[in-house]
Symmetry: C2
Subunit: 201 residues, 2 copies
DNA sequence: CATAAGTGTCTAACTAGTAGACACCTTATA
DNA sequence: TATAAGGTGTCTACTAGTTAGACACTTATG
C-alpha cells in the first residue's frame, strides 16, 4: 500500500483546529470576553493542560484563528502574487467566486462579524484583507482613458465589495453563492474600469 | 483548585465524535456508499489505524452515529418514563420544544434526511423515534368522552408531527424554532384530545 | 470579606494515536 | 486478461500528545 503518512505538522494541527472551533461556538454563545480557557477545553473535550501546550492564552488562540482564516481567504483567491512573474488574465467571476465560496465554506467563522463582543481584530481585519487582495491580486484596466487614482479606486471597490459580503453574511446567506456573485458582478459593470486578475492558476 | 477531571468514558468519545462529524460531512458530499474509511480519517485528520481501534468498519460508525443521535432525541424530551413513577403534567410546549431545539442544535446531522444515499436506517429510524417518544413519554386525555383507539391516535399524531419536522428541515430551517413550535401547537389544537407529558423534569 | 472560579506553570505517567507492513479484495484500464 | 491502483482489516512497536494533579496567584460574586 502507498505511504499514508500525514505531514507531522498537520497532525499537531488537529487539536488546534478543535480548540479554534470551540472558541467560535463559545464566542457566539456568550461573547469573547466571557469565554474562559476552561470553557474552551470543556467544549472541545480536552484537558486544560493540553491547551497550554498549544497556546499561551486565550488571546493567542484567538489570534491564530483570525490570521489563519484571513490568510486562507487571501490564498483562496489563487497563489499570492509574486512580483516579476507571469500575469494571468482571467474572467472576473473566477477569483471573486473563490472568495465567496471560501467565506461560505467557512461561514461558521465569518458569522462572527454578526456579534459585537467578538474576535479581537475581526471587524477591522476582515475588510483590510479584502482590500489587500484587491491591492495585490487584482489589476484594473481603463476602458476609455479616464485617469483615476488607482489606490483610491481599489480601496473604494474593495470596501464596496466588503459591504455586499457583510450584508450577505448578516442575512444568514439568504442568496446562493451563485446569485450573490452574479449581483456583485453586475455592480462592477457600473465602473469605467475593467477587472483583471494577477496570479497563477 | 477543584478537581477538574473529565470522566474517562467521555474522553474516549472525543475521537469518535470527530469521526462521526466527518462521516456526516462526507455523506452530504458524496453519498454514504461512496464514503471510504480513508476519506473519513483524512477528513478528520486521523490515522487509519485509529479508526479501527474505535470501530469495526464504516457501518459500525454509521450505526453508532444514528443511535446516539436518536437516543439523544429521546432523552432531550426529559428523562425516559420509568413505569410506576411519579407522573408530571406539563404544558404542551415544554417537551415538544425540547425536541425541536435538539433537532435544531444538531441540524447538521438531521439535514441528512434531505439526502437519498444517506445513513442506513435514518429514514425509518427518525420517524420511529418520534413515535416512540409519543408512546412512552406522552399521554392524551379526552376532553369530551369520545372514545378513540389510543395506539392509532398516537401513531397518527406522531407521524403528523414528523411531517412538519421534515418539512422544516428540508426548507433549511426557514422558520425560527419559536415560530415552528407555535404552528405545531396550533395544529394539535384541532384535536379533541389534549396533551400531557409523562416523565420527570 | 470570604469563597468560588479562573489563570498560568510544571511535573511524571500513560494512553491514544501513529507508521508501517501484511494478505486480501475489488475496480479500472491498457 | 493481466496488472496496476486503491480500499480493507489486522497486528505490532513506538512515541507524541494528552492527562491528572498540585502550586501560587489573580479576579469576580454574594
Amino acid at each position: 500500500m502507498k505511504s499514508e503518512q500525514i505531514p507531522a505538522s498537520q497532525r499537531q494541527n488537529r487539536t488546534k483546529e478543535h480548540l479554534k472551533q470551540a472558541l467560535i461556538e463559545l464566542v457566539k454563545e456568550k461573547g469573547y470576553h466571557s469565554v474562559t480557557v476552561k470553557n474552551i477545553v470543556d467544549y472541545a473535550s480536552y484537558n486544560r493542560s493540553t491547551f497550554y501546550t498549544h497556546y499561551l492564552d486565550k488571546n493567542e488562540l484567538a489570534g491564530d484563528l483570525l490570521v489563519s482564516m484571513l490568510r486562507g481567504l487571501e490564498v483562496s483567491v489563487g497563489r499570492p502574487y509574486v512580483p516579476g512573474h507571469k500575469v494571468y488574465t482571467a474572467k472576473l467571476d473566477a477569483p471573486s467566486f473563490n472568495i465567496v465560496s471560501y467565506i461560505y465554506k467557512n461561514r461558521n467563522f465569518f458569522e462572527l462579524i454578526n456579534y459585537d463582543d467578538t474576535l479581537p481584530g475581526l471587524h477591522t481585519g476582515f475588510p483590510q484583507t479584502i482590500l489587500k487582495i484587491y491591492e495585490e491580486q487584482f489589476i484594473f484596466e481603463t476602458i476609455n482613458n479616464t485617469p483615476v487614482n488607482m489606490d483610491y479606486f481599489k480601496r473604494y471597490t474593495a470596501y464596496g465589495f466588503y459591504g455586499l459580503l457583510q450584508n450577505w453574511i448578516q442575512s444568514g446567506f439568504r442568496e446562493t453563492q451563485e446569485k450573490f456573485i452574479e449581483e456583485a458582478i453586475d455592480l462592477t459593470k457600473t465602473h469605467i474600469y475593467s477587472f483583471k486578475y494577477i496570479g497563477q492558476n
